[in-house]
Symmetry: C2
Subunit: 150 residues, 2 copies
DNA sequence: TTAATTGTTCAAGTTAACTTGAGGTCAAGC
DNA sequence: GCTTGACCTCAAGTTAACTTGAACAATTAA
């Protein structure tokens, strides 16, 4: 093998992540680096995949905590195999599916509002209480308006 | 009319937003309050709808800046009519559609990776360069891995 | 061998979207 | 007319996800 282990700079160019981000990811437990005698980080090739997964999951909207959660399903002792990754990807896919569903239902409600003019009706709820937890924020937010003066 | 104008507390209970959030939204220009002689805020009924839109758009993932952008299309002088809102909602729907499309393509690529095992091939790009700008972060991030030891 | 490059730590700064707290005012009910 | 609850401002704190900078060590290329 040309490069049994990689430096942080090499990982950086391969993933597109800034070295500072990679260090930060190590700090929060998303990757683990081996250290040389002198204290420099060395990464395994498989960490490229790991970090790429972080990027993908994050672009999808997961927090680093959630991503760490998912990655915790990978074996710690050995290099993850293809089937390890397939398992994780399947879980990830399920989350993507859920999000697509959520957005489709948002779109439907939006269509309802646009089409039937319920924007001006008490009965229009762009946020219905049965919706799954919102990404951010807390407390009940449900009514898309009220009977306006207009 | 029972309440020609509403206090911040009333707006708060109607929207589910904390008063501090409403004040903050005023500060960043998402709503505008009238002031009483004594300096207290008074809102129009139509602001409930406005703030509800903020909540909806935010739950979808738009930043407050983007939301302000969209809301800037509403008339400033008069109370927005139903057709004003319909126009905005249509634009919003287009954004939702785009996001659904983006996620579907992510899902497809994910399926490819899961199905064909390309997770272990150089050719697998979970992030392809032609993708539209990611929500967060900068710099190129494109490779989902590399030929691993495994 | 020496200079340039790349790496290290640690503390502090950044942005978004708010919340919290202090200290004070206003409005409503009894 | 006074107490209570709602409201005000302004400064500072909070969380996520990093980046930046200072001061220094290790590696590599000429």
């Amino acid at each position: 093998m040309a490069h049994p282990v990689l430096t942080i700079g090499q990982i950086s160019t391969r993933t597109g992540l800034a070295p500072s981000a990679i260090r930060f990811y190590e700090e929060v437990g998303l990757v683990r680096a081996i250290r040389t005698e002198a204290g420099q980080r060395r990464f395994r090739r498989s960490d490229i995949r790991r970090l790429s997964f972080v990027i993908a999951a994050q672009g999808f909207g997961l927090t680093l905590g959630e991503i760490r959660e998912m990655l915790s399903k990978l074996p710690d002792e050995r290099t993850p195999t293809k089937s390890d990754w397939t398992r994780i990807s399947r879980r990830f896919r399920a989350r993507v599916d859920d999000e697509i569903t959520r957005l489709q239902s948002l779109r439907d409600r939006l269509d309802g509002c646009i089409g039937c003019g319920c924007l001006s009706l008490k009965s229009c709820r762009l946020y219905n209480p049965d919706d799954t937890a919102a990404t951010r924020g807390s407390g009940p937010r449900y009514v898309m308006g009220d009977n306006p003066e207009t």
